[in-house]
Amino acid sequence: MQKYLSQENFSTLLEKLIASGKRVVAPKLNAGTVLYEPLKNPAEIVIDRMPRRSGKEAFFPICEEIISYGKEGQKVTVTDIDPARFPETVLVGVRPCDAAAIPMLDAVFSWDYRDEFFLERRKKTTVVGMACTEADDACFCTAVGLSPGDPKGGDILLTQVEGGGYLCRAQSEKGEALVAAHAALFSEPDGHKSLPLAEPQTEKIDLQKVKKWLDTNFEHPDWDSIATRCVGCGACAFVCPACHCFDIVDEGTEKSGTRRKNWDACGFWKFTHHASGHNPRDLQPKRYRNRIMHKFKYYDDKFGQRLCTGCGRCIRLCPAGIDIAAIVEDISKK
């Protein structure tokens, strides 16, 4: 069921959510950069600029404590972090490419061992997506089978309408509950017309063909030419909505400190470096190959989907100008 939410009522909704003590996370300007961050007031939301990083950090922070420890004499105390302390959250204004990545992460963090840090936050978060009306030349969601109005991964999808305001479609129990709890702010649509959605300038890539080539071409001279430019900075993994690897480090002294989980990147030389000095991915092309293999083959083999939503962030940010969309498209034509 579609409802109409006026621009004014959208602000009121955010205000009410903030006032109710929920953490409301939305794209917000922060020192010149738009990031998904907690809002203090509804006016802070920025809906016309793509956030620099993806929305995944609402569930999977860049850095988080997983245990803390203290030592007195020979007595060591280890304190687990209580996932119950994670706040109820509404993630608003999520781009469809960011929302679509959430189920990809769900699969990783609930497979076999259940990661309570991720899953508890996930359980407590309602995802309010917003369809895109503008795309830049790095956007390629349509090339990987998504679209600027794709509802995948969200609880509610908002679509901007002519003259202001949004059409709102709740698509899960969480989404319906949020609309029902603020029913007075929503009305029946009255001939409201959606703004035209963005049209990324890319062609659909045949991902089956990509997978097929990857299945049989782990060793191929093209990997060298594909990845020679990669400087191994890891920026692509940090801005990616679907990348999810992490590092575990202790911060502190012998007396007290915390164990933290930090984002990591398979592009880093140290990522696979063994204590013995051996490194199975000793050269940058092998690391970049892993990036492509993981996104378009390994993850597919394991979970039946691809680990890329076409957000284009890695293309915008790569200091060496590596364009993953072009690389994958080339592979599809091999």
Partner: protein, 279 residues
């Protein structure tokens, strides 16, 4: 799934093996309690946690036993292992585990067993060997092949000498280069790469091989084993990867679609068929 929070253990014994490698024996801090991590099978690993330094995965090198003692043979290689080497008897260390898949002890009865270790790869192989030796008559034969870079790099030297004179197993020790030394104490060894030593074994079909050697040594040794008729299904190898979380999340130890910490670290060579980049 073992608990993820480290349990306190104390370092009960510290036995230097080489200038940079040491055997640590750990016991539960509260003697009456058994550590979860003391329940393991050879080839599995635990996470060793040192407050202020960090956490690392380490293979068990002892046999699982009633006493609940955990033996770890550790080389100074980074800041956690350096820190561990600065500890003294009675110091506290955190442990949790056991994780991963070990060697398939269950299928070994009645077979010729050949164990091949290179360098510190002896750690999990010693664990397996000690388990096999508790019921040595179950196996048709047991052969241990252990290679080190130089004679002074052999660890568990006293045990090697005992095993060399034992009738329960056949041993063959090899060094890459002897620097002119032909024997070290009463330990005798040959000079040459491990795969050359493998070529000297006369193995039969149905032989089960368990390997833990440096990554670069695998291809040559596997080729030799196959040449002698050992089947892919019967070659079990412990892969070295940089593990972090130990529970299949962080992606550091990925081997194609598989994860070394969950699907390994012991894989059968047949199971790695088609996984490019594994070996």
């Amino acid at each position: 799934m073992p608990p993820l929070l480290p349990e306190s253990a104390i370092i009960d014994e510290i036995i230097p093996q080489t200038p940079d490698t040491t055997l640590f024996r750990l016991l539960p801090k509260e003697r009456v309690k058994r550590l979860h991590a003391a329940d393991f099978s050879p080839g599995q690993f635990l996470q060793l946690s040192l407050p202020g330094a960090g956490e690392i995965p380490v293979s068990y090198c002892g046999a699982p036993g009633e006493d609940g003692c955990i033996e770890l043979c550790i080389k100074k290689a980074g800041h956690v292992t350096e820190f561990l080497h600065s500890r003294s008897i009675g110091s506290v260390a955190g442990v949790h585990g056991a994780y991963g898949n070990g060697f398939p002890l269950g299928i070994m009865a009645g077979h010729d067993i050949v164990l091949i270790a290179g360098g510190l790869g002896i750690a999990p192989i010693r664990s397996l060997l000690m388990s096999l030796l508790t019921r040595a008559s179950l196996y048709r034969s047991i052969t241990l092949l252990y290679g080190a870079r130089t004679p002074d790099q052999f660890v568990f030297r006293d045990e090697l000498i005992l095993w060399q004179s034992s009738t329960a197993l056949k041993t063959l020790f090899a060094v890459d280069r002897s620097d002119g030394v032909v024997s070290s104490g009463t330990l005798s060894y040959t000079t040459g790469m491990l795969n050359m030593a493998v070529a000297e074994l006369s193995l039969h079909e149905g032989c089960i091989a368990a390997l833990c050697v440096p990554p670069a040594a695998y291809p040559g040794i596997i080729t030799e084993l196959k040449k002698q008729g050992v089947e892919d299904e019967n070659i079990h190898l412990s892969l070295e990867r940089r593990m972090q979380c130990g529970v299949g999340r962080c992606a550091h130890c990925a081997v194609g679609t598989m994860l070394c910490c969950q699907d390994g670290p012991v894989f059968s060579y047949a199971g790695l068929r088609g996984i490019q980049g594994a070996i």
